[in-house]
Amino acid sequence: MEHSPIFVASSQRKKKSFIILGIMILLIIIAFIISMNSGHMKLGPMTVLKTLFGYGTKQQSTILFEFRLPRIVISMLVGAGLAVSGCILQGISRNALADPGILGINAGAGLMVMLYISFFTTATIGSIFLVPVLALIGAGATAALIYTLAYKKNEGISPIRLILTGIAVAAGISSVMIVLTLRLNPDKYQMVATWLAGSIWGANWSYVLSLLPWIVILIPLAMYKAKIMNVLSLGDQTATGLGAPIEKERIILLAIAVGLSGASVAVSGGIGFVGLIGPHLAKRIVGPKHQFLIPTSALVGSLLMLVSDTVGRVILQPSEIPTGIVVAVLGAPYFLYLLAKSKS
């Protein structure tokens, strides 16, 4: 496979890709520092550095370690998780429109959150811990349902069937949500709408700890599968011809995608757009080879989420704009610009 003529990357290309990865990491570090500085309490770059190494005042370190840092880390993890999940899904379904949404993950998580808010909660305090758990259950259950419905005994899962089933199940769930919406009172509706628009609302270290293992294990696993994904994206016939056990690999990759996006959506709400746009941006930067596409997607997703979350936090102080909205407002025009500039 390494020597297949399609994928022989010249050493120049490889070098270029590494340089791009380096630049992306640099940008993330810059965004990270700016994000640490900005907020309701302004801290200068030097103060941030001092505080990071333990020389700040008590107040400064509380702001940094208890409020800003967990949130920044979560948004980066979520961005990476969703973008890689989208990258995998676009690769195996060979459909440019695929994102974690087609697995019904956003819809399933949204429905659980909506059910919980509309029937049980009166206070908002307890829900901060329960909502991500419920969202993860909803996301997992929906993905399992879609998988079961799309599975056929002798043929396994075909990408087209998976997409169509996903669309149908998501449509069914959102219609249930329409009916539920009309029963909500305005305050509860506002809560649900904010969640659906996507916001990093419960930011503390326990969330970071619950999200981290998924990302740290699954993204390297996806990168390990990069060669298989290169082959799969050539189409089923070619892939089979090249000797890839497509059905088995597809199931593994799907499971990775579900794990990544389910865990991400649980803490971030309905931010599907990162999963759609991240891989496309990455593809325009480093090309279609998954060895580079997956890490670049992860970095692009992290950067986009980090910048968006910072902007959403700062721009309308003291209130916040849901991150999902900022992601679309920042990401879509840039994506359109790239699209208009690109050659067919």
Binding site: Q90, R94, N95, A96, L97, I102, L149, A150, K152, I160, R161, I163, L164, T165, I167, A168, V169, A171, G172, S174, S175, V176, I178, V179, T181, L182, P186, Y189, Q190, A193, T194, L196, A197, S233, L234, G235, Q237, F273, L276, I277, H280, K283, P288, P322, G324, I325, V326, V327, A328, V329, G331, A332, P333, F335, L336, L339, A340, S342, K343, S344
Partner: protein, 350 residues
């Protein structure tokens, strides 16, 4: 890249002769039309006040303004039922054209930015001009739909190499995401989300003759154009290279196709909001039934789409009278199991 691979794949796998079923298609056209007329009649006679079919007949052909039932039928039920049928046909045909042109099974009229554009302008209206009348809202909604489509079309064709299907799809997804995010932001900031939800859940209930009069000529014209275009769309659905190789002026066809979709989906969205699922499932269903020739897919989609919306609207009124269940939810409840069944059976790509 993906597009190129896909089209290569299509060339090798697409059968030499298009698989069509003209007889099934004719049966659907005739049977579907009969079922549509019947369900429209039933829909007119059912409701909060039950009106026998004979009275319905009288109300239409011997209208007497002094009889209450005649007024109910003429002013409330008839426009609603006709509007429902028109909307169903519009969404379904728009979806069929989009799927044929972009060769993407996930495509529907929403991809042109129509639904998102309309939703964005409606959100603006609710936020800044809260007292606007329904008929004004519809005009603004159409303006929004056109705006969304122009942005998508413009960005898609700006690029070197022109408007390829993959580019149209991506531009549509990005513009839609942007406009939806902006509407969400407005809705959250002005706290008008619930009002918007009520507005969209209303379905075809508020349809007036005046709206239908504006819509009808456009929709009929667009449907006829779609029929004329059907042959070209069949060719385009084989892949752009093949269509061009067979001597088709693909740019012209795509442009006209997009204008048709804009008119159909734009006017439908302005009346019921985005019930996008119709445009997605009906073309799939039709393709499953009648084969891959758009000469049959387009008229059959129109009939089946009308039937679905009229039936859904009827159910919406019967489930929990005098309250109405949101029509979008009902369409999903009727459509989803069916679509799942199709997804299991269907093996072709497009």
């Amino acid at each position: 890249m993906a597009a190129i691979q896909e089209s290569n794949n299509m060339i090798t796998t697409s059968p030499v002769k298009l698989r069509t079923r003209p007889i099934t298609a004719t049966l659907i056209l005739i049977g579907g039309l009969a079922a549509l007329l019947l369900s429209m009649a039933v829909s007119v006679s059912f409701g909060a006040a039950k009106i026998p079919l004979s009275l319905v007949w009288e109300a239409i052909f011997q209208f007497n303004p002094n009889i209450t039932e005649h007024n109910i039928i003429q002013e409330l039920r008839l426009p609603r039922v006709i509007g429902g049928a028109m909307i169903g046909a519009s969404f379904a045909v728009a979806g069929a054209i989009m799927q044929g042109m972009t060769r993407n099974p996930m495509a529907d009229s929403g991809l042109l930015g129509i639904n998102a554009g309309s939703g964005f302008v409606i959100a603006l209206c609710f936020a800044f001009f809260p007292g606007l009348s329904f008929s004004m809202l519809i005009i603004y909604s159409f303006i929004g739909a056109a705006m969304g489509a122009i942005i998508v079309f413009g960005v898609g064709s700006l690029a070197v190499g022109g408007l390829t299907p993959i580019r149209l799809v991506l531009a549509g997804a990005a513009v839609s995401a942007l406009l939806i995010a902006l509407s969400q932001g407005i809705a959250l900031y002005f706290r008008i989300g619930l009002d918007l939800a009520y507005f969209y859940a209303g379905g075809v209930a508020g349809t007036k003759w005046s709206q239908l009069k504006i819509m009808l000529p456009w929709v009929v014209g667009a449907l006829i154009t779609a029929m004329i275009l059907s042959r070209s769309i069949s060719l385009l659905s084989l892949g752009e290279d093949i269509a061009a190789g067979l001597g088709q002026r693909t740019k012209l066809v795509k442009f006209v196709g997009i204008v048709v979709v804009l008119i159909l989906a734009g006017s439908a969205v302005s009346v019921v909001g985005s019930v996008g699922f119709i445009g997605l499932i009906i073309p799939h269903l039709t393709r499953y039934l009648v084969g891959v020739d758009y000469k049959w897919i387009i008229p059959c989609s129109a009939i089946l789409g009308s039937l679905l919306v009229v039936l859904a609207d009827l159910c919406a009124r019967m489930i929990n009278p005098p309250y109405e269940t949101p029509i979008g939810a009902l369409i999903a409840i009727i459509g989803v199991p069916f679509f799942l069944y199709l997804a299991r059976k269907e093996r072709r790509e497009l």
